[in-house]
Structure formats: C-alpha cells, structure tokens
Symmetry: C2
Subunit: 151 residues, 2 copies
C-alpha cells in the first residue's frame, strides 16, 4: 500500500495530478489513513496505462472510456484495434508531411513558395481548414518524447 507521495515519486506523476485523475475517475485510491489517500500498487499500472494512452494522443476522457478506474483495466480489444488504426492513419499523414518538408529543404527553387512540391503540400494543408476548430495542441510531441524516449 502506497501513499500519494510514494506513487508520485515512483511514477513521476505529481500528487496534484493524481488527485486530479482520481477526481476524474481515472484512478481510485483504495482507502484513507486519516485524510490521506492510500493506493494499491496496481495504481502504478493504471498510471502507465494512462501515460500510454496520452502518448498515443488520446484525451483523458477517451482513456477513461477505454478502461475502468479500478485496477482491472480490461480494454475492449475492438476499441484497441480501432485506436491502432487511427494511429496508423495519423502516422501516414505525418509521413506525407515529413516527406514534403524534406523535399522543401533540399529543393533548389528560389523560394519555397515557388517550389511545386511545397505548394502541393501547402495546398493539402490548407484544404478544408474549415470551422469546428477548438482546443489546442503542442504538448503531444513533448509528451511523446518523454514517454517513449529512446524509441
């Protein structure tokens, strides 16, 4: 049985975040000693699972829907497979981007704006940047770096 600071120390997840996750139903504490939360060691696995989900680009809400908060993280295999497919699509798109950027870096056109390949990429990127924009971005790559560091 672990107290919150032990969990924090072992996982690198701050205590404030652990409380937040519990509030959101992503993890559970198995009891209290006075006021203080007590966690079962299984929570460590839970947290790894959450980190995995985040690194794969899923929101906490999605992660919450993927598996239960009590130690027994039973993931629906169909859902997992669907997520893998989603990820695969993302990967293919990012690959196209990467290739475009690489081309632009090598390309000898006087300006990227005059490089046909670069323009094609730009066109792709600007196609249908419609409404329904909402939240944010950025952390993802950082989180990924921390998560899978070393490949």
């Amino acid at each position: 049985m672990l107290d919150i600071s032990e969990v924090a120390q072992r996982t690198g997840v701050p205590a404030s975040t652990l409380r937040y996750y519990e509030e959101k139903g992503l993890i559970v504490s198995t009891g209290r000693r006075g006021l203080k939360r007590i966690f079962a060691p299984a929570v460590l696995d839970q947290l790894s699972l959450i980190a995995l989900g985040q690194a794969a680009g899923f929101s906490l809400e999605e992660i919450g829907r993927m598996f239960s908060a009590n130690g027994e993280a039973r993931i629906d295999r169909k859902a997992l497979s669907a997520k893998a497919d989603e990820l695969d699509e993302t990967i293919m798109k990012l690959s196209a981007m990467r290739d475009g950027l690489q081309h632009a870096a090598r390309c000898r056109a006087p300006s990227h704006l005059e490089c046909p390949t670069f323009r094609r990429l730009m066109k792709l990127a600007s196609a249908r940047v419609q409404k329904d924009n909402k939240a944010v971005n950025k952390v993802r790559r950082e989180r990924l770096n921390r998560a899978v560091e070393g490949g």
Copy 2:
C-alpha cells in the same frame, strides 16, 4: 486586393482567426479602406503555410519564428530539415505505439496488464513522464485530418 471576408471564404479561416493571426504577427494586412483591412493575395499562401505548420504539429509561435509575416516567407532550409527530422522521430514513436496496441488487441493474455508485450509498451510510455507538463493536445489529429484529408 482582398477584404477579410474574401480571405476567410477562400481559405476557410474565420475572420476572427485572421485578426488574431495579425495581432500575433503571423500575417499582415497591407492597408485599410476606412477601418477595414485589406489583404494582398500573398496572404493566401501565408495562411497555407500556417496550416501546414500546424498540421505538422508546430505551435503558432514556432511557425512565427520559422518565417516572416510579410509575403516573403523565406524558410531556413536547415530549420525545415530539422523539423522533418523531428517529425520523423514522432512517427517512429507513434509506430511503436500502434504496434503495441495492435499486439494487445490480438494478444490472448487474460488481461492486458499480464501481457508482457503490452507491459513493455506501458513501461516505455511511463518512463520519465516527469514534470514540465503544460499545455494541451487533441486537436492535432483532427487538424491533421482536415489538413491532409485523403492522404
């Protein structure tokens, strides 16, 4: 010369966003007719460039640093190449994730938590999920979908 609604219509970027981008120095309007902004057609390219950058996962700030706001978007080839490499790393990591998820979906272990491959993945993902977490996530895949739609 285009007014803001024409730019909005042609690019799918809302007027409010265009004003926001101008405020942030990502684009420039070439003048005013009365109060109303006037844009040079070059802004359309600018906006494509911004969309491209966002789709590749860069923040507006990074994008701003990569090229100037006036039509002449001269991108440093070295920076481009570096970004491509960054993207490549991201892709490799996401690929590892995808493979892990696929494995977990097929794997016959009673619970994913008992599947060695899945555990290895989790370990990777949870390694060094340290401090310095900040902003958000999520939109990225969506934005990418809009941006590169159709691969």
